[in-house]
């Protein structure tokens, strides 16, 4: 019985693969109304209300959205694109994933539209627009908030132990001992999801060696993973693990269930390094923690003698919409007019702000400070707009296959199963010049 089950399961996978490989999957992608695939949680409400009001005003260019969980989406979109069964509007992070779509000819080049309509891309912050380009062509435009990674902390716990938020790595290591002594976990971390660990490596490498170190890695330069900054960053991570910096059992905590965020607002952990989307999530999960003034935030600490500017940030500049190259002309037209007039219109921006997120639109200062979370949102906006470097999350910037090896290798560094040198050696092998 189970053997049969196994065969059927493989069969199901294989049918999809074969159908996709042969390209006999029919024209269903090119008929009917335009469609859009996006993610649940986060800015889902903004997307829903935007599509609702768009469809009411433009029944002839209606777009039907579908929402998926993060990991499920990443796998589904690829299979769907391979089989030419994808939606008209494709949700992405820019970077390596977008490049693989471009290389396979799956998304539309928007450069002509951008040149014809300066407002289309010109209303966004240039550093964010850049993430949607491959080579010098625009393939994707921002659809939601800037998401820099920020160090959140529980002010109440800091007052209790009489501590200040860390400004340097040495401060941070001193805080670890202090919080441990008080029976509080210094840092929360969703280790099972792996990518929260990556934020530590991204920031440390930037603080030690500057943004060029990862630029070399992303450019597939041979042996770029064994740059001293990468080795030192991983050594520091292992020292922090050794000192008990991360909450007990961090390796089995999944971010999907928000268990890592819960550790922060239940007072079990003092600090939490996370993308700024944690704020809207926290607003939904435990608004009292924010309104009681317990939530603090600061930038990632500087490292002594480091080359990187402490004002540099990492994270996701935004998420993006691309238009499928295999969509019908009517679908493409609908999607394009939505990108022009639907996305980031004043109402859209207001919904994002109300949810606690900062859109990458130019000249929003006064609008932001007037919003309910004005003080916090202004700081995030300034942080992102003024950063000398806003580095895209590595797992999104790299080729998807490389990203998988990176996340697995890094989790082994956190578990002290491999040394920093072994990590660099393994990663160097993934470089395809």
């Amino acid at each position: 019985m189970m053997f049969r089950k196994q065969l059927t399961a493989m069969a199901a996978v294989a049918v999809t693969l074969v159908a996709a490989a042969c390209g006999t999957s029919g024209p269903s992608a090119s008929g009917g109304a335009a469609t859009a695939w996006s993610l649940t949680g986060g800015d889902e409400q903004t997307f829903r209300s935007s599509f609702d009001s768009w469809n009411k005003a433009h029944p002839d260019a209606a777009i039907t959205p579908t929402f998926f969980a993060n990991d499920a989406y990443k796998q589904k979109i690829r299979t769907a694109l391979g089989a030419d069964q994808g939606p008209t509007l494709l949700y992405s992070w820019g970077g390596g994933t977008l490049k693989s779509w471009v290389d396979a000819g799956k998304v539309l080049d928007l450069s002509d539209e951008v040149a014809a309509d300066p407002q289309l891309a010109g209303r966004f912050l240039p550093s964010v627009v850049k993430t949607g380009t491959v080579g010098d062509k625009t393939y994707a435009l921002p659809n939601n908030a800037m998401q820099p990674v920020v160090l959140y902390y529980n002010k109440e716990l800091f007052t209790r132990v009489g501590a200040e938020p860390p400004k340097t790595w040495d401060d941070l290591m001193a805080l670890v001992a202090k919080f441990k002594g008080a029976g509080i976990a210094p840092f929360s971390l969703g280790g099972q999801s792996k990518w929260p660990m990556l934020m530590w490596l991204e920031y440390l490498v930037d603080r030690i060696g500057g943004p060029q170190v990862f630029a070399d890695i992303a450019a597939n330069k041979p042996d770029s993973w064994s740059h001293p900054a990468v080795l030192q960053a991983n050594t520091m991570i292992q020292q922090l693990v050794e000192a008990g910096g991360f909450v007990n059992g961090f390796a089995s905590i999944a971010t999907d269930s928000n268990a890592d965020l819960a550790l922060l607002y239940t007072g079990k952990a003092a600090m939490y390094l996370m993308g700024s989307w944690a704020y809207p999530t926290l607003k939904t999960a435990n608004a009292g923690f924010i309104s009681d003034g317990k939530l603090g935030h600061t930038t990632f600490p500087a490292v002594a003698n480091g080359k990187g500017d402490p004002a540099n940030i990492v994270g996701n500049p935004a998420n993006f919409w691309s238009i499928s190259a295999t969509a019908s002309d009517a679908q493409k037209q609908a999607a394009l007019s939505y990108l022009k007039d639907g996305v980031m219109n004043p109402q859209y921006v207001d919904t994002l702000l109300a949810g606690g997120a900062v859109p990458p639109v130019k000249g929003l200062e006064s609008k932001i400070s007037a919003s309910p979370d004005g003080a916090y949102l202004s700081e995030i906006y300034k942080l992102a707009a003024d950063a000398p470097s806003f580095q895209l999350s590595w797992d999104q910037a790299l080729d998807p296959g490389q990203a998988d090896a990176l996340l697995t290798g890094l989790s082994q560094v956190f578990l002290k199963q491999i040394t920093p040198q072994q990590f660099s050696d393994t990663m160097n092998k993934t470089i395809k010049p």
Partner: protein, 294 residues
């Protein structure tokens, strides 16, 4: 009594739906996977021929080596843990009696739950910060069950056992109810105690049930995917990246469909070999289970 020819017609006809189903949903895709295992394909572009190049890559990959080794460990551990429990529970619930039936219903409850539900429930229970260790304040429970690479494999085997022991209990229960009561009566008259009866009557009589159950367990352990995927996602590190999970991650996370198909072919070959080997074991001694009973 009907004649042979009368019986043959309808039997073949009845097999047709199953055969069609099996061909369309098992054999044809299997052939597709075999073809894909000879190709390179990232899931997006055009697949290109790679010949046998995927094989040395898969067989030489330390991650896959570890995955094979982990699968073997899980296979053996699962058999060792599940068989005695299922056998004893099956014997217990085989006898009639009201409390046994109530217990029987309770034991079968896990069979009704989906793997994903079981995995999510255990994940919540085993959470070191919010799980049962915090609720019950028992020191022995406050382990990092799913985060400790040395412990996590045993936890996975335990959860799998929790899910599948009921099914095998059902097999043993049915098997035990088939054993004629005369055998026990005769043994009792001859002065055999319960232990002697167990080893001389129950176990030999259950021989085919044991083989069936073991085949399902061993071959089934090649398919443990859903529960591990939800419970640990293969982590921490690669500590629970079993071969089916390795196949999935290689294909859908690493976007290497050629290598994933190669692993799939490997799984099919091992699975078929295992079940053929075990059914041969069953045929090895063709003597009747109830010799001299007729």
């Amino acid at each position: 009594m009907s004649t042979v020819s009368e019986r043959r017609g309808p039997t073949l006809l009845m097999a047709v739906p199953a055969l069609v189903f099996f061909t369309v949903f098992a054999l044809a895709p299997l052939a597709g996977v075999a073809v894909l295992s000879l190709m390179r394909w990232d899931g997006l572009g055009t697949p290109s021929w790679a010949g046998l190049a995927n094989w040395p890559e898969v067989l030489g990959d330390p991650v896959t080596h570890e995955a094979i080794w982990l699968s073997v460990k899980v296979m053996i551990l699962s058999w060792v843990v599940q068989t005695p429990f299922a056998l004893l529970l099956g014997l217990l619930t085989a006898r009639r009696g009201r409390y046994r039936e109530v217990l029987g219903v309770l034991y079968f409850l896990p069979l009704l739950l989906s793997s994903a539900a079981i995995a999510i429930a255990f994940k919540a229970l085993l959470d070191p910060n919010f799980g049962m260790s915090q609720a019950l304040h028992i020191a022995a429970l406050s382990q990092d069950w799913l985060g400790n690479p040395d412990l996590v494999l045993f936890v996975v085997v335990f959860v799998i056992a929790w899910q599948f022991i009921p099914f095998h209990t059902l097999l043993y229960q049915a098997g035990a109810r088939q054993i004629p009561a005369v055998l026990y009566e005769a043994a009792a008259i001859d002065g055999a105690g319960p232990l002697r009866q167990f080893f001389s009557i129950t176990l030999p009589q259950l021989r085919y049930t044991i083989i069936t159950s073991s085949t399902l367990m061993l071959v089934g352990s090649l398919t443990y995917f859903d529960i591990v995927f939800v419970l640990t996602g293969g982590g921490p590190g690669n500590a629970t990246r079993l071969l089916p999970l390795d196949m999935y991650l290689t294909g859908f996370s690493n976007n290497d469909m050629g290598r994933a198909s190669t692993i799939a072919v490997l799984l099919v070959v091992v699975g078929v070999a295992l079940s053929l080997g075990l059914s041969r074991l069953a045929r090895f001694d063709r003597g009747s289970q109830q010799e001299g009973m007729g």
